[in-house]
Symmetry: C2
Subunit: 257 residues, 2 copies
């Protein structure tokens, strides 16, 4: 049985705790033996207090320590780890492996998903991107990851950086486009609800078509009359700037192909 | 029983034919009596040839004629319609109601969804936006729309224009962000597959959270270190421009709130 400890109590840590606890019910391959949280009560709804410590000196021996804290807190955690030569991994998309202290064996355990506090996710479908310094540690991480997910990938630090930037486009920026859609609806007293099936279908399409195949709309058709009408219609300077830039990009892209 | 005729043979027309044929199996409230298609064989896989005409003069009497052709073909169809005083509607998001000929009673029957040739859609969840010149015609359109969809809205021409522009943001532009994600993955030899669960969850979140609540990422957190690292990382001038503009917009938006 592989022993896992988690350091952190935020969104990612909490989703990982739930995933490991559920996996242990099905299969005893991985055991979540301890959590470090500065406030023990914060996790009391997920796990018994005996398994939560707020003292780095009381961290028990584990096969892998997963640091699940925000990027700017990683260095602080690393500085406080009291042991050596153990496998310590972080869960960050943007931190390189070597941001961890070389006193320990280093690795990355990056679940590529957006986690919200009050929205459960099915961890089994979440891709987990792994990196380690040696093949033995990779095997440990691989077993741990496979106990909670069906989608596990070996991804080096450079590739992970690419995924993290790409994720900003498909997640953060896409969500901001939803917000612009919402703002346009509000300005014209139309319920945003009407757009939700379109949002769902746009995301669904990408499961079966490439983005190039799925592209539609006035920019793709080079329909200058509609584009002109939209540009005249947009009241918000910021919406207009984004409309123009993305329309031009889609038009130029058509020329490239 | 309300008699419906469809003029057109493209994506929207074909999806409507399937939806009306399926609805008639369940409930006899609406009958699809005829389709106009310049090439009758094009629709032979969907409907018997007897119900397809390629001659405007042979259009039979119906309670409503749905013009389901591309925007730039609507004027051509309107010019060829040989009858008067009947209810004629188009399916366009961007055309105003009064683009139709006033010899007939005019209306709009706009299903707000993205239709692909080889991907079936569940029409019952697709919002249909209706507009008419008088309440009696609205009742006809409402009955026709409700026979195929559970989501029917009265939307005037100005509101429909807003929805159409908003749809460009949440559908066409979002799909283009997926393409940028794909391009970044290809440049760094990472499978785009890894991003698909994130794309799905980003769209899912918007069903339960407002776009403002759902917004995450370095721009939202004002995490200048990560933003700087991403900007250095991006190889493509076009990706960089879009990254900068959307990052700035999300940051400014945070200040507004």
């Amino acid at each position: 049985m592989i022993k896992v400890a988690i350091i952190g109590s935020g969104n990612v840590a909490q989703h990982l705790i739930v995933a490991f606890e559920n996996s242990q019910i099905k299969d005893n391959a991985v055991e979540l033996i301890q959590i470090f949280s500065r406030k023990r009560e914060k996790l009391a709804h997920l796990i018994t207090l005996e398994r939560i410590t707020d003292d780095y000196q009381k961290l028990v021996e584990a096969d892998v320590y997963i640091i699940a804290v925000s990027d700017d807190a990683i260095a602080g955690v690393v500085a406080k780890i009291p042991f050596k030569n153990r496998l310590v991994v972080h869960t960050s998309g943007s931190f390189p492996l070597n941001a961890l202290n070389e006193n320990n064996r280093r690795g990355v355990f990056y679940p590529l998903q957006t986690f919200s506090k009050n929205k459960t996710v099915d961890f089994s479908t979440i891709p987990i991107c792994l990196e380690s310094e040696n093949p033995f540690d990779y095997q440990i991480l691989n077993s741990v990851a496979k106990s909670i997910s069906n989608s596990v990938f070996a991804i080096n630090s450079q590739q992970r950086k690419a995924l993290h930037v790409a994720a900003v486009f498909v997640n953060n920026f896409t969500n901001y486009l939803y917000q612009i859609g919402n703002e346009i609806c509000e300005q014209h007293h139309v319920p945003f609800e009407i757009l939700k099936p379109l949002i769902a279908e746009t995301a669904n399409k990408i499961l079966v078509l490439s983005p190039q195949e799925a592209q539609t709309g006035p920019a793709k058709r080079n329909d200058s009359e509609t584009i002109q009408a939209h540009e005249t219609f947009l009241l918000d300077e910021n919406h207009l700037l984004i409309y123009k830039l993305l329309t031009q990009a889609i038009k130029d892209n058509g020329k490239k192909l």
